[in-house]
């Protein structure tokens, strides 16, 4: 069965108005927020789990790659389809199916926008904790696929720590359930395994997420430093003091000035670096920890520590943080955001290394990142039309990633491996490690129809696909 027949069958499943196949429409789906591009053959918008099941059966029968897509805000190319593949877009599966306040959870369709869920349950005093900077646009389905984080994951963890159940459509079209409303359950934790599997083992159609109670009090501090080094050293000094901030973000001076010019958040223009520190919890505890955190910063040579006095000030400080990439994006035709992780005691060293890399490749690199958990987002400005410069950007990125690995870190803290970093996986994992992961992928997705070319490095993909697939075994046993 070729693509034209598949498009015809897709129209029968979801209706003609839920299928896009004109080149000018497909162009909108050829990229995400990262730097890779590839044009799908068709984009389909299911409205029900049954639609997704039918689409999956069709893709499997026709052996055409199928890639799930939320809002396309991902930075690792996870939602990019190979040329001619099927993109299954979830913007019409965006209903909050259930809010169960007594059990502190909600069941949502994958297309629900992250922030909308928190807004929807706000009157109950509850919220959904993972807060990627793109939370006004990104979807919970995408958060689940990439195991997304955000500033407040320092205290509350990434998406996987907030998902207790998923309804999944397997490549066969079968609809299955992993976990549910209980915090844990007997049996393999396939829910935990599914989150962050980047669309390679199934497609989620309903997600059970935990809702947290809003804290009684939140304090937001801005600590201003003369140098990046002083700010970086303060990060581990704060945790060494027994203080557990909800968020601990860092900007270098150059980034700070760029962001301030864009959104007037009130950041100081002459600082070397700032830390944005947030504490939450019981009023008494927050007051004490704010004073303690302030003292640590001042001992570590902070010039000044400001505390947001009213909610508007706090919102403004966070607006600067969440708008930062947009602000930096104004400076150059393209930018590339990396997502390395280092042990937090290695932050001063990695920042020094990034500055050397910038000099070596003659690139401008800004640093704005989740300092508390050592999750860096060096942001490299460049011009995509300059092939030589793009080559330098990729080399510089690889250099930074290698450094992160050498000091005991990782190549991604919250963006996922995707298309972008799958060739870096062998720097982090041995062939045998990757072979084990490949056998798990094949247990669900042996034919490689689901999100091919993602997460696991390329040669392995080809080799494994040509081998016997364990999915065939599943099919025989009535899966």
């Amino acid at each position: 069965m070729g693509l034209p027949e598949v498009i015809g069958d897709l129209c029968k499943i979801v209706g003609r108005d839920a299928v896009l196949d004109r080149p000018e429409d497909l162009m909108l789906y050829e990229y995400d927020a990262g730097v890779r591009r590839s044009t799908p053959g068709v984009v389909v918008f299911p409205q029900t789990t049954q639609h997704v099941s039918g689409i999956m059966q069709l893709a499997s029968a026709a052996a055409i790659p199928i890639v799930a897509r939320g809002a396309g805000t991902g930075l690792s190319g996870g939602a990019i389809s190979p040329n001619g593949g099927i993109v299954i877009a979830f913007s019409r599966m965006n209903r909050i199916l259930e809010v169960d306040a007594e059990n502190r959870c909600a069941v949502v369709q994958p297309g629900v926008v992250n922030l909308q869920l928190s807004e929807h349950v706000s009157h109950l005093g509850l919220y959904f904790a993972p807060d990627p900077s793109s939370q006004k646009a990104c979807t919970i389905g995408g958060n689940v696929a990439e195991n997304s984080g955000g500033p407040h994951t320092l205290l509350h963890g990434v998406t996987v720590n907030h998902v207790t159940g998923v309804e999944v459509v397997l490549p066969s079209g079968e609809i299955v359930q992993f976990g549910g409303k209980a915090a844990e359950s007997y049996g393999y934790d396939l829910t935990g395994f599914f989150v962050g599997s980047e669309g390679t083992i199934g497609i989620a159609t309903a997600i059970t997420v935990k809702l947290l109670r809003k804290p009684e009090m939140v304090a937001t501090l801005l600590a201003i430093f003369e140098s990046v080094d002083d700010a970086a050293r303060t990060v581990s000094a704060i945790t060494a003091e027994g203080i557990t901030p909800a968020a601990l973000e860092m900007f270098d001076g150059w980034t700070l000035r760029t962001v301030e010019a864009f959104c007037h958040a009130g950041y100081p223009l002459d600082a070397g670096a700032v830390l944005l520190i947030e504490l939450e919890g019981l009023r008494e505890a927050v007051e004490e920890q704010s004073i303690a955190a302030s003292d640590v910063c001042l001992r570590q040579k902070a010039r000044e520590v400001r505390r947001a006095k009213i909610e508007e000030e706090r919102t403004l400080l966070w607006k600067g943080r969440k708008m930062a990439f947009a602000a930096l994006g104004r400076l150059s035709p393209s930018y590339y955001t990396q997502d390395g992780v280092v042990p937090r005691s290695k932050i001063p060293g990695v920042l020094e290394h990034i500055s050397q890399v910038a000099q070596r490749y003659a690139l401008t690199i800004g640093n704005i990142f989740h300092a508390g958990d050592g999750n860096l987002h060096p942001l490299i400005l460049f011009d995509m039309r300059d092939a030589e410069q793009f080559r330098c950007v990729l080399a510089a990125s690889r250099d930074i990633m290698q450094y992160c690995i050498d000091v005991g870190g990782s190549i991604t803290g919250e963006h996922g491996v995707g298309l972008e970093k799958r060739d870096l996986m062998p720097l982090l994992f041995t062939d045998e490690d990757l072979d084990v992961m490949t056998s798990l992928r094949n247990a669900f997705n042996g034919a490689g129809v689901l999100n091919p070319e993602k997460m696991l490095p390329a040669p392995r993909m080809c080799r494994e696909i040509s081998g016997p697939s364990s999915n065939a075994v599943l099919a025989q046993e009535g899966m």
Binding site: E102, E146, N147, G149, V158, V160, N161, T164, G165, V168, F178, G180, A182, A183, E184, S185, Y186, G187, Y188, D189, L190, T191, F193, V195, S197, T208, R213, P215, T239, A240, G242, T244, E284, A285, E288, P343, R344, H370, D373, G374, G408, S410, T412, G413, E414, G416, L428, E432, D433, D435, V436, M437, L440, N442, A443, F444, M455, V473, L474, E477
Partner: protein, 441 residues
């Protein structure tokens, strides 16, 4: 008791891999390692992941059943094992893989005991949140494989929340890894989640890394008593709605209270134990919010003793009530009360007593159930209880008197698709040599 016989060459192979001193093959010495009614022919003590991989390749080749073992504190959980060919101990895999107090992370070998890890990090003012029963014997590998946590589950999350990396050998002898040494990491499949609570049926865990926490400088425990389970759960709901964030929130049934206190006479009341951490002003605030229901407060030695007793309850009840069936239940928060009420009515009408304790803020209960007369069928009560569980509630048997074991499989329950679990099992342990028969299938 059936004693397995392994092919002759296997002992030679194992001696070559681990050295003769680390292969034990005299049934007399193995008597203490009788597991779920089966006795192993050979026990082996490998010193590294490489040795484990070599052993598993031999076992995989011959289809020999392997039972991984740590401190042997949870070996009575699960179905009967038909046969144990090789008992594989982690006792020599105890190295510290990485530890930097400034990073609040640590990685150790699977055979390291929980107490060893805890005391190592305590010296630096840090705190390991895992608190399974008998930490002096329980190993890191066994704790992860059984997915067992203690009362600190309420405030610090489950193992799945703070285990940041794992090293293992699959049933077909491949060395694998997931995660790493940093607190935030989404590279590759989350192998930690897959192996935590897999009861050694997918791979043998050889090492793991964890996020650590600062040790609270001061804690206090508040105790409230209630006439009924409903009153206790209503109080839980009030605590969960309040701004308080206790580190432990535990319910103790009347019989559970008697076991904790070592008393023969059962108490009449349901209790809630709430442990808070913070400065004087924070603890004063707790006292004010918790109100006049609080009967007493505990600190220092008395407080530590009560939490140790709660932590070790699953072990203590095996000693106080050898005829008890021990169940572990994970429930949505609203199912906790109906389940406790089911236990009360089923016990009363069938001549059985029960002791329940648990992390009611996260829906985890441990229930010991024992007969009061010779005609009582505890197994039947457990089956009825299981049948009444709704939705995603699940149940596992942690300990069962030998005579009840034949009815085991019927009692378990999981919300997760069985065929997908089987697909994972086939991918990592295609010949089903790891803990064959113990798990859900």
């Amino acid at each position: 008791v059936s004693i397995a016989t392994s092919p002759l060459h296997v002992a030679n192979d194992l001696r070559e891999i681990c050295g003769a001193a680390h292969v034990i093959e005299y049934p007399a010495q193995l008597g203490q390692h009788k597991i779920l009614g089966a006795m192993s022919a050979i026990a082996v003590e490998p010193a590294s992941a490489e040795e484990i991989a070599a052993i598993l390749r031999v076992a995989h080749e011959d289809g020999l059943n392997i039972v991984p073992a740590g401190g042997l504190t949870q070996q009575q959980a699960g179905n009967s094992l038909n046969q144990v060919d090789i008992l594989l101990h982690s006792s020599r895999i105890t190295q510290v893989e990485h530890y930097d107090p400034g990073d609040l992370t640590v990685g150790v070998g699977a055979g390291c005991t929980v107490a060893q890890l805890t005391s190592m990090v305590e010296a630096d003012g840090l705190f390991f949140a895992g608190d399974p029963p008998l930490p002096g014997r329980a190993t890191i590998g066994g704790m992860l494989a059984s997915g067992i946590s203690g009362p600190q589950r309420h405030g610090y999350g489950g193992l799945r929340d703070y285990c940041i990396g794992i090293r293992f050998v699959t049933g077909d002898g491949r060395k694998g890894r997931g995660g790493g040494r940093v607190v935030k990491n989404v590279a590759g499949y989350d192998m930690m989640k897959l192996l935590i609570g897999s009861w050694g049926t997918l791979a043998i865990i050889t090492g793991a890394s964890f996020k650590l926490f600062p040790t609270p400088r001061q804690t206090r425990t508040f105790v409230a008593e209630f006439a009924t389970a409903a009153d206790a759960i209503e109080y839980r709901n009030a605590v969960l709605r309040s701004p308080l964030s206790p580190i432990c929130l535990e319910v103790v049934s009347p019989e559970g209270g008697a076991i904790l206190c070592g008393e023969r006479q059962s108490a009449k009341a349901w209790s809630i134990y709430l442990r808070a951490a913070g400065s004087d002003s924070v603890l004063t605030r707790y006292r004010r919010e918790l109100g006049s229901t609080i009967l007493r407060e505990m600190e220092d030695r008395a407080e530590q003793d009560v939490w140790r007793a709660i932590r070790d309850f699953p072990q203590t009840i095996r000693e106080t009530h050898p005829d008890a069936l021990l169940l572990s239940l994970y429930l949505p928060l609203t199912d906790v009360l109906p389940t406790l009420q089911n236990l009360e009515s089923l016990g009363a009408s069938n001549g059985a007593k029960f002791a329940a304790i648990g992390r009611i803020g996260v829906g985890h209960l441990l229930v010991g159930l024992w007969p009061t007369g010779s005609q009582t069928s505890v197994a039947a009560i457990a089956s009825t209880l299981r049948d009444r569980l709704l939705g995603s509630a699940s149940l596992n048997v942690l300990h069962c008197p030998d005579e009840m074991r034949s009815q085991f499989t019927e009692w378990r329950k999981t919300p997760t698709h069985l065929e997908s679990m089987r697909a994972v099992k086939r991918a990592l342990d295609p010949k089903d040599i790891l803990n064959r028969g113990r798990f859900i299938f």
